[in-house]
């Protein structure tokens, strides 16, 4: 088989310029005025991405549909939540944070977001504030063939603790669109930030997040990325810099590529300071689509510890999983490792369950459920439970 013709090559995907021309800017489309306009099926859709507008256990809620911010409420005095356009004015252009971790000139999408911004969120946890309940942010594309361009900035000030659940989705009947999301995360000394992102797009949606993270001394950044539903193309490669001693970053992702999906994902961590630690763990399943699971760990300082793990299951013909783990050490005193395994479910595991009475299909789905069961260290138990509920919810109709 000539794989380059069939699967590997992305030439069937459209060029950046073509994409930008095809879709109508969100600002030119009339959006809803209020979340009250959302229909039951839309609210259900948001729930599948962890966004529950009726849940009292939320510190705050941000909802942006197309280009309009419909909701931006925060109950805690310890957290500041604003549409990015307002924060930009209030903080005089956010000089220290605006395009500091990603270059606006990086590619066509960053340039587009720089020039034609729709909106986005600004979240700042004040120094020493530990916010127990998560903040939820929702970026929602409600109309067909729209390009949504957002820029988000999240700052966890010294000693603060903050959990964010972000749900990115499209209207249940929407097929096509383009989402460009610039996100810059600043985790300051001793702060802890958990960022859980659930994607639930339409089958012909293109997604281009561009993400930068900076973690200072003793800071912790935990990222969880879950994408279980159909999507046309995702291309994401967040880059974290561990700039202070003992900083930590962990990336967990659980990704399912359905037939027709092309998901290029991963993370890069630059361990710049001594004693910093990092982990990139991905679990991917292909039901016929293609996943590229990248990971790049760069050790620049002594005494760092970093681990990379890619596990992939191919559950349908023509599925492609391409694991690209990279370790790059520039000093000798480092502990860096990786582990990657790609293939189908071991027959032995299926037969083990069949010997207890499950049929082959039940056995397979039990193993797949387990494979996708995200157990994330460092999350508060409530959030972990909720995350599992989201995964369970996503399983429906998978």
């Amino acid at each position: 088989m000539n794989y380059s013709e069939n699967h590997y090559d992305t030439k069937d995907l459209r060029s950046d310029e073509d994409l930008l021309e095809t879709f109508t800017p969100a600002s030119e489309v009339e959006g809803p005025k209020d979340v009250g306009e959302f229909k039951e099926e839309e609210l259900e859709r948001l729930k599948q991405t962890g966004i529950d507008l009726t849940n009292p256990d939320r510190t705050g809620t941000f909802v942006q549909a197309n280009s309009s911010v419909l909701k931006c409420d925060c109950e805690s005095q310890g957290v500041e939540l604003l549409p990015i356009t307002e924060a930009f004015k209030k903080y005089n252009g956010l000089k220290d944070y605006w395009w500091k971790l990603i270059s606006a000139e990086k590619d066509s999408f960053t340039r587009e977001a720089d020039q034609e911004l729709d909106n986005g969120y600004f979240i700042r946890a004040l120094p020493g504030e530990k916010v127990i309940y998560p903040l939820q942010t929702c970026l929602y594309m409600r109309n067909e063939n729209v390009a949504q361009r957002v820029h988000n900035i999240v700052i966890a000030e010294e000693g603060s603790e903050l959990h964010i659940i972000t749900g990115c989705s499209t209207h249940p009947h929407l097929k096509s669109g383009l989402h460009i999301g610039i996100s810059e995360f600043y985790v300051k000394k001793g702060a802890k930030l958990t960022f859980t992102m659930v994607h639930n797009w339409g089958e012909n949606v293109y997604v281009r997040p561009r993400t930068g993270i900076r973690v200072e001394e003793d800071g912790v950044f935990l990222s969880n990325y879950i994408s279980l539903k159909g999507v046309k193309s995702v291309q994401t490669f967040p880059t974290a810099t561990l700039a202070g001693p003992n900083a930590m970053a962990r990336f967990n992702s659980v990704i399912v590529a359905h037939e027709g999906s092309d998901i290029d994902t991963g993370a890069k961590v630059i361990l710049e300071a001594p004693g910093s630690r990092s982990e990139i763990i991905s679990r991917t399943i292909s039901f016929g689509g293609r996943v590229v699971a990248r990971g790049h760990l760069i050790g620049l300082a002594a005494n760092i510890k970093a681990h990379l793990e890619c596990q992939g299951l191919i559950l349908a013909e023509h599925g492609v999983i391409h694991a690209i783990p990279e370790l790059e050490a520039h000093v000798s005193d480092v502990d860096m490792s990786h582990e990657a395994a790609v293939g189908r479910i071991a027959q032995e595991e299926i037969e083990y369950l069949m010997a207890r009475g499950l049929d082959e299909e039940e056995a397979t789905s039990t193993i797949v459920r387990g494979f996708l069961d995200v157990k994330i260290n460092g999350l508060p138990p409530e959030l972990n439970k909720e995350l599992q509920e989201v995964v369970e919810e996503c399983h429906k109709g998978m």
Partner: protein, 264 residues
């Protein structure tokens, strides 16, 4: 004698046994491992299988369960009178056959609790069982991930108790188990094999044992010695085990002091 009467006689004969193995020849990866095994186990009986490593004991158990890669070249397996020689694994399990694995695979992300719930008809049965055998800390654990030898045995037996098979095939249930846990393991086996029932016991067992230790805890009715893919003799398990201890497996197979393995 009318044909029907003769037929009934045969089926009654067959039904007297929970398990009946007739001249079973099995190949694994092109290599002949089992060479004409004959074995019968009645309802309520517990049999022990002795034999050194590589004699084919595990192959026999796994073949009975129907695992892929174990090719039956000749002979047949009857379970409760039904020919299961070519039945899929899960259908054998549904008929009441169960196997505790010596080295089960690790199922990442699958919690023991979830499996117990799948196997037992009652929803709480799993946690009750775990509580009864001091294993409740493992309910949330991923199946077999980082389990010690003894913990694997406990987890296997717990799963079998949830499944409640009529014939339990136990592959070295006591190996790797410390003395403290041996007692619990054997309690579980006694429960599985309905040892508390004196009359009309229905549950049967076929246990592979290396150490014979289990004989001190679980009453067995018969013992068989396996060597080079064949069963050589059968009789009182304790007597056989004493012989093996004194003279070794080869001598034991030769001596034929005990009752000969029957041929059909």
């Amino acid at each position: 004698m009318p044909v029907s009467a003769g037929f009934r006689q045969i089926t009654d004969e067959v039904r007297r046994f929970m398990l009946q193995i007739e001249d079973l020849w099995v190949e694994v990866q092109g290599k002949e491992i089992l060479k004409g095994i004959n074995l019968r186990i009645g309802p309520g009986e517990t049999h022990c299988l002795f034999g050194k490593n590589g004699s084919g004991k595990t192959t026999l158990l796994v073949t009975l369960m129907g695992f892929s890669g174990y090719k039956v070249k000749h002979g047949r397996i009857l379970f409760k009178g039904e020919d299961i020689t070519h039945l899929p694994i899960n259908e054998r399990a549904k008929l009441g056959l169960g196997l505790s694995f010596q080295r089960p695979p690790t199922l990442r992300g699958v919690k023991l609790k979830n499996l117990l719930a799948l196997y037992s008809k009652e929803s709480d049965a799993g946690s009750e069982l775990a509580l009864a055998y001091n294993f409740e800390n493992f309910l949330e654990r991923q199946v077999n991930l980082g389990f010690s030898g003894g913990e694997i045995k406990k987890s296997e037996l717990l799963q079998l108790l949830a499944q409640s098979p009529d014939l339990s095939l136990l592959d070295e249930p006591e190996s790797g188990v410390d003395i403290e846990n041996l007692d619990v393991i054997c309690q579980m086996i006694r429960k599985l094999l309905q040892k508390e029932v004196r009359k009309n016991r229905q549950k049967s067992g076929l246990i592979i044992t290396h150490t014979g230790l289990i004989l001190n805890y679980v009453n067995a009715d018969r013992g068989h010695v396996m060597l080079n893919g064949q069963i050589y003799c059968q009789g009182n398990p304790r007597d056989i085990f004493e012989r093996i201890k004194d003279y070794g497996y080869e001598e034991c197979a030769k001596c034929r002091l005990f009752e000969q393995g029957f041929k059909i």
